[in-house]
Amino acid sequence: MSQATVIEAKHLDLTFQTADGPVQALRDVNLSIAQGDFVSFIGPSGCGKTTFLRCVAALETPTGGTLTVNGMTPDEARRKRAYGYVFQAAGLYPWRTIAKNIKLPLEIMGFSKAEQEERVARVLDLVDLSGFGGKFPWQLSGGMQQRASIARALAFDADLLLMDEPFGALDEIVRDHLNEELLKLWARTGKTIGFVTHSIPEAVYLSTKIVVMSPRPGRITDVIESPLPKERPLDIRDTPEFLEIAHRVREGLRAGHAYD
């Protein structure tokens, strides 16, 4: 896989100025993500995994080092609508139907009415929610709401999908199902995905590349290229290869985690 680099971070630093003095959220983060990669960021809370994703999305501004998205600064990439972002909560507007929620970015980006309809139908199908377009969010289960929010992020065809613990609030059965769906979706669309999680099985199951991070200050302790095939049935999680990678992730987390 010698494809174009989508995200490139070099010596990235980010220090927040808080009332209790400066807090170093990211220190010397070096990472390169190629097109078509599925990259998981895993680590305990406070390790900067979400912060890194927010830097990529230009929701935070690094205080040192360089970060490029598609060869541009994150802010330029944001203006060019280079990515879709999925938050931890679905964040659907309660006063809009599912279809209208998915139209939200399309309205802002100025797609024609006909194009909006067509895209809504397509992404609803992609996340298996066809027929739910006319429902209001409260009429859907939590898992369905999160799928709708993924559809919303897919609607405008950004090549990069940034997902911040999108399934963190869901129960394990729903999460397994959505993980499977997400892999299928990734295979079908060929998007680059940045995925924040704190679940080791989730990270190993989904990713081509696993970035292990540790806190205070937030930094990368290990980057694991997964040897697992692209086609992954759920029971791949019982194979020795899978368990070996999971073990390495756990080791990486333990090494970076000073229990002081």
Partner: protein, 305 residues
């Protein structure tokens, strides 16, 4: 339907207490009149009764209880007297008559609605400014709060007099007093409503590179609608109070406020109470109209369940 029983029970208790209160409130005058017509009253002579407690007198003269409920100018009119007066002045009188409560109600209502409209629009404009400009947040909000600490009774005559001296009279001064009372809940509610979207919602729109205008129209404004209606319900009631207070200091001859005022000049307690009830009924109707609008709007927005 099940809720109608407790509601009626409470109403019945209130009416019973009211009738019970009428007896001691009106007993002294009833005794004086009965004695004049030859009845035997205990104790004898109005002078002897002057300093006795009303409840004691009522208990000693149960024969005169009926008279306390049928006086022309009672201290406290009985419920049926108020109802009869309301019926007379609302239904029987032509609405063009100076004695029709519908006529007076309309005078007050028109000022209320105009003031409510001014106050609501003004409140929304101020709230939008406050949410979008830090300078306005710091400068306008304290004044808005200070404005509500001034008793409206103190400032209403000044508004009327000042506007009159520049040639503005009639509906507008009253409406402005209404607006003065009703803009505040709208400002407070709308500021809260426009600020109600959380950081995640704002971040989401930022990832779409949405403009400030789009954030306002697509997120802040729809999010503020439930807050807006809560404010309107307070605002419309405040508007009505404002319009009535605006009628008091000028010695106005038209409007519910004028009915209250003339009623108190001539001791027409029944007229005062019926005007009070007309005001309360009008306020309830106005709030009900807003509640209906609220239900309809929220339902259309998918927020009503």
């Amino acid at each position: 339907m099940r809720s109608i029983v407790p509601v009626l029970t409470v109403v019945a208790v209130i009416i019973a207490l009211w009738y019970a209160a009428c007896v001691p409130m009106n007993i002294k005058f009833a005794l004086t009149m009965a004695e004049r017509e030859g009845a035997v009253i205990e104790p004898e002579g109005a002078a002897a009764r002057r300093d006795l407690s009303a409840i004691g007198l009522a208990l000693r003269n149960p024969d005169q209880w009926g008279d306390t409920l049928a006086q022309d100018k009672p201290r406290l009119p009985a419920p049926h007297q108020v109802l009869v007066e309301l019926y007379d002045t609302v239904i029987d009188k032509k609405i063009t008559s100076k004695r029709s409560l519908v006529f007076h109600g309309w005078i007050t209502l028109s000022a209320t609605l105009l003031g409510f409209a001014i106050g609501t629009v003004g409140g929304i404009v101020l709230a939008v400014g406050i949410v979008h400009s830090r300078a306005m947040d710091m400068s306008v909000m304290p004044w808005a709060i200070a404005s509500q600490t001034i008793p409206i009774l103190a400032i209403a005559p000044m508004i009327i007099v000042v506007l009159n001296s520049v040639g503005v009279q009639g509906l507008l001064p009253k409406a402005l007093i209404s607006a003065y009372l009703s803009f505040f809940p709208v400002v407070v509610g709308m500021v809260k409503g426009l600020r109600s979207p959380d950081q995640m919602q704002l971040d989401l729109l930022k990832t779409y590179s949405a403009s400030k205008g789009e954030v306002f129209w697509k997120l802040r404004l729809p999010a503020s609608v439930p807050y807006f209606f809560a404010s309107l319900k307070i605002g419309i009631a405040a508007s009505l109070v404002g319009a009535i207070v605006g009628e008091l200091p000028t010695g106005a001859v038209r409007g519910l406020g004028a009915r209250l005022l003339t009623g108190s000049y001539y001791g027409q307690t029944i007229q005062i109470w019926s005007a009070l009830f007309a005001t309360a009924i009008l306020a309830a109707l106005l709030v009900a109209v807003i509640s209906g609008l609220e239900r309809g709007t929220l339902k259309r927005m998918g927020l009503g369940r």
